[in-house]
């Protein structure tokens, strides 16, 4: 009996030295499963969502720029296709501008922009999801998510971050050209599966971007990040995004995500 135990311990020790993640494998979900559940928690909560987003873009020299918008999101399938509708209030030069995205897994998004002064609906080329969203430090991927299949995941460790018990997940792009980062480390809350902190490392391995979930609240029993920041450590600029008036499962109609409502926002949802 004792011998058996000793042998088991020996094998575990050996395995954990060669494959550090094996130690958690018995008790923890697989890294891909953590990544999937985290994606659902962050980008797919509810059948639909409405929120007013207030972004502050802070430059290194203390200059502040504001982006304010209402975002409507509807899931067609959990973890699959989504529709986004965004109406801008600020800055003044884009007031009344609307933006619509059909997000597909494993395929480039379809994006449309409506410019009211020209009454023009314009399709936007969307090949690069790493592009900055409205000049902020958040990229399109940070706003609407990145395909899970595009990264390989590894569970590095489990640790306490503040009060939160977290999985520490490392994501490496399968195709390095598909992302701005060389790898990304995420601290994912074991209960809510929301990322509490994310470190982005560039392709030479230097830390350059830092994501922090500053405030998490339950809305209709759904844990939601109310305030988040993304800091660019190389340029010194940072963006703080505060979500207000968040509502889930409000029953957004399919037709909102069409040209008709892009040209004339739905009074019911946009005020």
């Amino acid at each position: 009996m004792e011998q058996k135990n000793r042998a088991y311990l020996f094998i575990s020790l050996l395995l954990s030295l060669t494959f550090p993640s094996f130690v958690f494998a018995l008790s923890s979900p697989l890294p891909d499963e953590i990544a999937r559940r985290s994606q659902i928690a962050l980008f797919y909560p509810g059948k639909d969502m409405k929120a007013r987003i207030y972004m502050r873009l802070l430059s290194k020299d203390g200059k502040e720029r504001i982006r304010e918008m209402t975002m409507l999101r509807k899931n067609l399938q959990e973890g699959g296709e989504q529709r986004y509708y965004i109406y801008f209030y600020q800055p003044a030069d884009v007031r009344d501008t609307t933006f619509m995205v059909y997000k597909y897994p494993k395929k480039d998004d379809d994006r449309w922009l409506f410019i009211p002064a020209l009454n023009l609906v314009k399709r936007i080329a969307a090949a690069d999801k790493n592009s900055s969203f409205v000049g902020s430090d958040f990229s399109y991927e940070d706003v609407s998510g990145r395909d899970i299949e595009d990264d390989s995941f590894e569970l590095i460790k489990e640790e306490l971050l503040g009060e939160a018990d977290t999985y520490v997940l490392k994501a490496v792009p399968k195709d390095l050209r598909s992302a701005n980062y060389g790898f990304k480390t995420s601290w994912i809350d074991k209960k809510s599966f929301l990322p509490i902190k994310e470190e982005y490392y560039d392709k030479r391995g230097a830390l350059y971007k830092l994501f922090t979930a500053e405030e998490i609240k339950e809305i209709k029993n759904i844990p939601t990040i109310i305030k988040r920041t993304m800091k660019n450590l190389q340029t010194g600029q940072g963006t703080e995004a505060v979500f207000r008036e968040i509502e889930y499962n409000v029953g957004l109609e399919d037709e909102i995500f069409t040209e008709r409502f892009l040209k004339k926002p739905p009074e019911k949802w946009i005020k």
């Binding site: 873009l57 200059k63 504001i66 003044a92 002064a117 009454n119 037709e255 069409t258 004339k264």
Partner: protein, 454 residues
């Protein structure tokens, strides 16, 4: 609420006279060579301006103080452009645009009005850019009033968009939104799951604003005849322009069919006598346009296709040299993001004249001919820097058949959220002074505008 509606009607009344964004004083040159002005007197203009200011003041007063954000938005802008050779000012313009909207349930009204001072003509005036009433039911959107309408998928190339445009604004370096002119009419949008329709009726004809001889070096085949007149379509049922569009998004593809019956928006010119003309008449021949467009993702970018048949209703057999020949127009476009914040757009455009033989045969001696096929290639490069606050862009037209080109390099910097500075050039050149861009060879200009948004 009552006060606001009253103010709305007052504003409409004071602005009901259309003021083009270039306050063209209607001028003609009489036999003695003196310019005769038929424009509004300065006194009347000042009264109009005073009225508008009062109405706006009234609107501001009627705002409930509880509103956190002002309901009136807009901008203040100073806009200047000058010819590169000679330095003549093309634009000297300071303006304030005010936008106001108010809604009650599914009904709303919107006003976009400019008050401006033209420092070249030393005049001040107002321009109601848009002013309309919107009504919405679950299936139908109705918009009545002065409104800007844009159709089609071309980038500065218009096939199925037959709505009025101000090309002088583009060529002289005004902000791009001044390229589109509003139409006075009604638009109905009907949406079904299967297909959506849009129907437009415009009883009040509004021509394109083309570069004027006062500011641009234009090719004019009747240069020696000074006596001019213009005949516009009448504001009645028979001359009401009608436009129709059916559209649908199918699997991420934008599909549309178009039909239009109305008039060419650029005037045709005819003389009372070919050999010894005494009066030149500008008129707008009847036109029907039938077309289609498709746009969607492809080749890591966006692919666009648009085509239209221009049915020249007053010259279907192409034998009248003063009226455009029937044409088929075709556009192929491709747009792609090359890397972060850098986008490239390419377009190929082709115009096919259906009765070229008849056109050549009927062309009076000394008038410039035209090939059966005219081609255009455009390139748009856009690069953003400094968190998208600095934008460098280039738009280039080149016609291999006319051998002429038009370049618009531009730089814009957003100093902060409210303030931006833009500068650029309009460069024209061509082998022949009678081609579309070639005629503006001497009009190369440099422009700049500063805008404060609120």
């Amino acid at each position: 609420m009552k006060a606001k509606i009253l103010a709305f009607f007052l504003l409409i009344r004071s602005l009901v006279r259309r003021h083009p964004s270039f306050p063209r004083k209607r001028e003609s040159i009489d036999n003695t060579g003196f310019r005769v002005k038929h424009g509004m007197t300065r006194c009347t203009r000042h009264i109009v301006l005073l009225m508008v200011s009062l109405v706006i003041f009234f609107l501001l007063l009627s705002l409930p103080s509880a509103w956190a954000q002002p309901m009136i938005h807009g901008f203040a802008q100073a806009d200047y452009s000058a010819k590169i050779s000679g330095g003549d000012l093309l634009i000297g313009d300071e303006r304030i645009q005010l936008r106001f909207n108010e809604s009650l349930k599914e009904t709303s009204f919107f006003i976009r009005a400019d008050i401006f001072h033209d420092s070249i003509e030393e005049t001040s005036s107002t321009d109601l850019r848009e002013g309309f009433l919107d009504m919405r039911t679950p299936q139908i959107d109705l918009r009545i009033g002065r409104q800007i309408i844009t159709w089609g998928i071309g980038d500065l190339i218009f096939i199925n968009d037959t709505f009025p445009k101000n090309f002088e604004a583009l060529f002289a370096g005004r902000p791009i939104e001044y390229l589109k002119k509003a139409s006075d009419g009604a638009r109905v949008n009907v949406s079904f799951d299967l297909l959506s329709f849009e129907l437009v009726a415009i009883p009040f004809f509004e021509p394109d604003t083309l570069p004027t001889k006062e500011r641009f070096a234009l090719f004019d085949p009747f240069a020696s005849t000074a006596n001019r007149e213009t005949i516009e379509p009448k504001p009645d049922i028979e001359d009401t322009e009608v436009a129709f569009r059916a559209y649908k998004n199918l699997l991420g593809l934008d599909l549309a069919l178009y039909a239009y019956k109305g008039f060419y928006h650029a005037p045709s010119m005819k003389a009372d006598s070919v050999t010894n003309p005494t009066i030149i008449t500008s008129f707008f021949p009847r036109l029907g346009v039938y077309g289609a467009s498709i746009q969607g993702s492809g080749l890591d970018g966006i692919i666009s296709l648009e085509a239209g048949y221009y049915d020249s209703l007053d010259d279907r057999d192409g034998t009248d040299p003063t009226i455009p020949n029937p044409q088929t127009k075709f556009l192929l476009g491709y747009q792609r993001q090359i890397w972060e914040d850098f986008t490239v757009g390419l377009q190929y455009y082709l115009e096919y004249m259906h009765h070229h033989g008849e056109f050549v045969q009927s062309l009076p001696a000394g008038f410039p001919g035209q090939d059966r096929i005219r081609e255009l290639i455009t390139l748009r490069l856009t690069h953003l820097y400094l968190y998208q606050t600095l934008k460098l862009s280039l738009f280039a037209f080149y016609s291999p058949t006319d051998d002429d080109y038009y370049l618009i390099p531009e730089i814009r910097y957003n100093i902060n959220d409210a303030m931006s500075v833009t500068g650029g050039f309009n460069i024209f050149d061509g082998k022949n002074a009678a081609t579309f861009f070639g005629q503006f060879d001497k009009d190369d200009n440099i422009y700049t505008y500063v805008r404060y948004e609120f």
